[in-house]
Amino acid sequence: MTSTPAIELRNISKIFNGTTAVSDVNLSISDGEFIAFIGPSGCGKTTTLRMIAGLEQPTAGEIASYGKRVDQLKPWERDTPLVWQNFALFPFMSVAENVAFGLKMMRLPEAEIKKRIAEWMERVGILQLRDRAISQLSGGQKQRVALARALVTQPRILLLDEPLGALDAHLRIKMQSELKTLQQETGITFIYVTHNQSEALAMANLVAVMNEGRIQQLGSPNQVYRAPSNRFVAQFVGMNNLIDGEVAAIDGEHCMIRAGSNSFSVPAANKPSPGDKVTFIISADLVAIESAEAPQRENQIAATFRGEEFIGSVVTMFFETEYGAEFKVQQQQRAVQKLGLKFGDRVNLSWTANDSFMLL
């Protein structure tokens, strides 16, 4: 591993006709990293990626790659191949011609090109498709051609813009593990843009959550998931319930937060003082449901069952509480069946103090 970062963004901003797409982003991506940018559409993640590829010019700031400034270079002078969301395969070329395109641009000898494209087509499993027209390929096959076309030039950095976005759910899961393996085997720095958080959390070592042109949090998937740094991240990543309150007392590692008619014990990670207005989160999958007659405990609220949503074997239930109409609780379907709740039933919701997390 080299010590100079693969990509360094210094005070990067991009303004399109008066709208700020990316605002003063600073980021250093080490060699061999698998970083995922996630965020809602329009958050600036794709623009950031396109600036790294040189397809957009930053309005301000510098981009360096392995210690060298690249922001003045034209796209074709850079070595950052991109895997496109819609694949952007050349429809007038065969599969093999598509894969060979980058190598031809590098003016490699014909024999070398042949050898390298065969090697990579074999590796991503499209060797038998070499003479096919692009229009004859399925989505998954196109995906592989796009990967081979980018990787065959042996880049140190690979850019991926929602590469699995056009695939169906089943194929997406399969490609996730293949991409992850590929990245680990080759050691190429992957810079991956997606709006799909589970994809990012499953594959990347490092996750950058973006919103309104800024990086809201940069951290490991676990950090981003369990310890969001602000309201936006807490709402965008995972499924969290946010409760606003005021610090009533501090008791060693924990503090008491008064919110409406309840008091909650929350780990005091960031040393608040009494009287501070704070927000803490409790993840939907860490909340327990008990009958309304169950004994009182700490971190408990009264709630009314209002609705549910099924995703696979997981059920998201919505409760009305004094903190809003959509307090979310996530449980396995079997557990939910055992409860036998009907809409309008009154219950108590509770959680362990250490599972909640105070936002900074």
């Binding site: 395969l89 050349f90 007038f92 070329m93 030039t153």
Partner: protein, 282 residues
């Protein structure tokens, strides 16, 4: 069912019948006419191959055919090349407002008096026209343009340059921009991208544009006669001479057949080329 049939017939029969009677029948009759004979300047229904033999045996016919073909080919190449940078600019670089204005400016001339515009060129490029007056003013002597090959080419371009630009432009504007950026991303420079990506992507528009240019030039009478001087006749001039001076309609019809066959061949070749899929060549 009966009601549907009556409705269906009311809609479909009139346009089909009209074009069959007034277009297809005359065209077929043109073929029949090539076998008729002319006696004492009067047409006579007949079945003779004399007209075909006479025309196809005449050396001048091949000279004229070849000239027409080469003129049309030259006009095709010249207008396609001149049109391409314009189409490229309109398709890829121009802003939406500029584009709309340009399209408007390109469609208008196609429907407005080719004949009158050609006449205007006659005046402009004549020996004492605007261009030669200006050249004279800067000390360059007269350049003969009217009644030369150059004049003919100017005439053809006047006829269909806007159309060729429009056809090319439509294809170029439809190119997926990601393809161009993907090429850049794979180290393909600006100029190289034009040949590696833009040209193959816009193949249909470029080919159809060229085919239209060829067809229009091949059948045009105005440019070679009014700007080319008519002293190097083309097939269209030959037809008019044969009809108007010699009144030999059957022979003119044979020449017309030669034109139709050539053009069908060109259209067929162009379409085959334009819509050939990648991979089929292997």
């Amino acid at each position: 069912m009966r009601r549907l049939n009556a409705f269906f017939a009311t809609i479909t029969v009139p346009p089909i019948l009209w074009q069959v009677i007034f277009f297809l029948v005359p065209l077929i009759f043109l073929v029949v006419m090539t076998f008729w004979s002319v006696q004492n300047y009067r047409l006579k229904p007949d079945f003779t191959f004399t007209n075909w033999q006479k025309v196809l045996a005449a050396g001048y016919f091949y000279d004229i055919y070849l000239r027409t073909f080469l003129y049309a080919a030259a006009a095709t190449v010249i207008t396609s090349i001149v049109a391409f940078p314009v189409s490229l600019f309109l398709g890829l670089n121009a802003g939406p407002r500029f584009r709309i204005v340009a399209i408007f400016l390109l469609i208008c001339p196609f429907f407005t008096s080719y004949l009158v515009r050609t006449y205007s060129w006659q005046v402009i490029i004549s020996d004492n026209g605007i261009i030669n007056t200006m050249l004279g003013a800067v000390g360059i002597g007269q350049v003969a343009m009217l009644n030369t090959f150059v004049g003919t080419m100017i005439g053809y371009a006047t006829f269909f340059l806007p159309l060729v630009i429009l056809l090319q432009f439509a294809s170029i504007a439809a190119i997926d921009r990601d393809l161009i950026q993907a090429a850049h991303n794979l180290r393909c420079g600006r100029l190289r991208t034009i040949f590696a990506v833009v040209v193959p992507s816009a193949k249909v528009g470029l080919t159809v544009g060229a085919a239209f240019a060829f067809i229009l030039a091949f059948g045009d009478f105005v440019a070679p006669s009014l700007l080319g001087g008519g002293r190097s006749p083309t097939l269209s001039i030959l037809i008019i001479d044969t009809v108007k001076s010699a009144s030999d309609w059957p022979r003119a019809s044979v020449v017309a057949m030669a034109m139709i066959v050539t053009m069908m061949g060109v259209i067929f070749a162009a379409l085959t080329f334009a819509y050939r899929k990648p991979g089929e060549t292997h």
